[in-house]
Subunit: 289 residues, 2 copies
């Protein structure tokens, strides 16, 4: 039996069963980041790893500076989704020996640019020879005040669902240039009682069911903010939006819409969480498509 016979969800479930834990691992695999520390600590540590591969996440003729930005920014987006701030990055890269030095230099320039933008220290890394594709893996630590830490699991029936920005159109280039919503998420987690939050990496159509399932809710979805020239179906499924999806009480929702200070970034009420878990499936989208 080959991996392709089982599919990603079954494989991940298989491999994340029976993983060794520890008392200091407060939240393990399954959320945007792992959370470590003592439950009583005022500040918790966030841990995230991610990777991009040539031929899967980018093409060999891509602008490698943008690839470097993307490689780190993807992990930054996950730190943001927990309400945290990124701190230290470790960069593992495998290059084929035939790669042009200017391309490798550009990749590191992109990584550094993203690190500077978000105040991240590059703490170390590893460089290896690849027998084929370029491979970039990023491990990122972050910090979040215990009182601001937001998971996917705290949503409640009746909660209002919001997304930042506009969805879809990643393939036209946005997937290499997106801006992780660290500042927005910090503001949100500092001023509102967010019940649940995640970043949109696989598209709202795949990610909203994950948030709802983690929160043991269903959902109803209304209008969604689409990127220019992008259909609703594309906005749901393109993926790599790296916008925030979050759930707050109706009372907090009204306050949030009055106080949202990021005038250049749309904030859109896209739906509600429901007590009826039967709505917890992508079929839910058919009612609104």
């Amino acid at each position: 039996m080959k991996l392709s016979d089982l599919g990603e969800d079954a494989l991940i479930a298989r491999w994340t069963r029976h993983l060794p834990g520890s008392p200091s691992l407060l939240i393990g695999p399954g959320d945007d980041c792992a959370v470590t520390g003592r439950r009583s600590d005022p500040v918790w540590t966030l841990l995230k790893t991610d990777c991009v591969l040539e031929g899967v996440h980018f093409t060999g003729d891509a602008d490698f500076a943008r690839v470097g930005w993307k490689a780190l920014a993807r992990a930054v987006s996950d730190i943001a989704a927990m309400g945290g701030e990124p701190r230290h990055a470790l960069i593992t890269v495998a290059f084929p020996p035939t790669l042009e030095v200017v391309k490798a230099d550009a990749l590191y320039a992109g990584l550094r640019r993203c690190a500077r933008k978000f105040g991240i220290a590059i703490a170390g890394g590893e460089t290896a020879r690849s027998p084929g594709p370029v491979f970039v893996s990023v491990a990122l630590t972050g910090e979040v005040e215990r009182t601001r830490c937001v998971t996917r699991a705290g949503g409640k029936p009746g909660d209002v669902l919001f997304v930042t920005g506009r969805l879809g159109g990643s393939r036209s280039g946005k997937h290499l240039d997106f801006m992780p919503r660290v500042h927005e998420a910090r503001w949100l987690a500092g001023h509102f009682r967010l019940h649940a939050m995640m970043d949109l990496s696989d598209g709202l159509g795949a990610d909203l069911p994950r948030l709802a399932r983690a929160s043991k809710c269903g959902f109803e979805l209304g209008d969604i903010p689409c990127s220019p020239g992008v259909s609703r179906d594309e906005a749901l499924s393109d993926g790599e939006d790296f916008e925030l999806l979050f759930a707050v009480s109706p009372r907090q929702a009204a306050k949030l819409e009055r106080e949202w200070p990021f005038s250049k970034l749309p904030l859109t009420r896209v739906g509600v969480l429901t007590a009826n878990k039967a709505l917890q499936s992508t079929h839910g989208f058919d009612h609104f498509a």
Copy 2:
């Protein structure tokens, strides 16, 4: 110009220049691990990333359980080399879709076995499709008491150099089965004033000059402990020993030889650090070969 035209040392120097730092990054790239925290904290955090690739670090027909062990144990060895204890691991894997499920399962079994052995919690990870080779990247955190943290840089002229275990012969299989010296390093760092320490990953012939250079010393090398059937040259150059190399004062050295409690693991005095930096090169070995 291609990467192969420049060579590894020049490339790493190129890419680690001008990396963004931060006040909480106490030790950045260049030692076995990065060290983060506040200088006054009683316990510091260690960060390490490492990777193994099919076709470079192992062959496609290798026992993947041993590959999994190796992938995590390499990083554990670096935590040990700082005097620390490993804590939380993040595992990034890229598999070709055609890989047999039993092989992927075996890889995770090996990772879990190593994690349990050293009390490591697997905090999360990422699984991606590879267009070719199997790729495994491990990020590992650790902790070390400020008073026990040992770098490569504190060696002094006259210090005695020790190595644990026997060197060489990694290609006969040891490179997949080695045991990181966490317990031994913890005992050493807890009972002795270690001036400098590192783990031997590239062979004593390559690694000792690094420790000496970081400590601004030269070195003289005497007899070294060779694995059975392995010549001195092979023991110096095979690499992947994952034993400890460390420097202590002559007084501490004599005490250590009396008190070393690990009767199954040889401890060998292999040389001294010198004030003459001119001896700081692999040419130094020629005098003794």
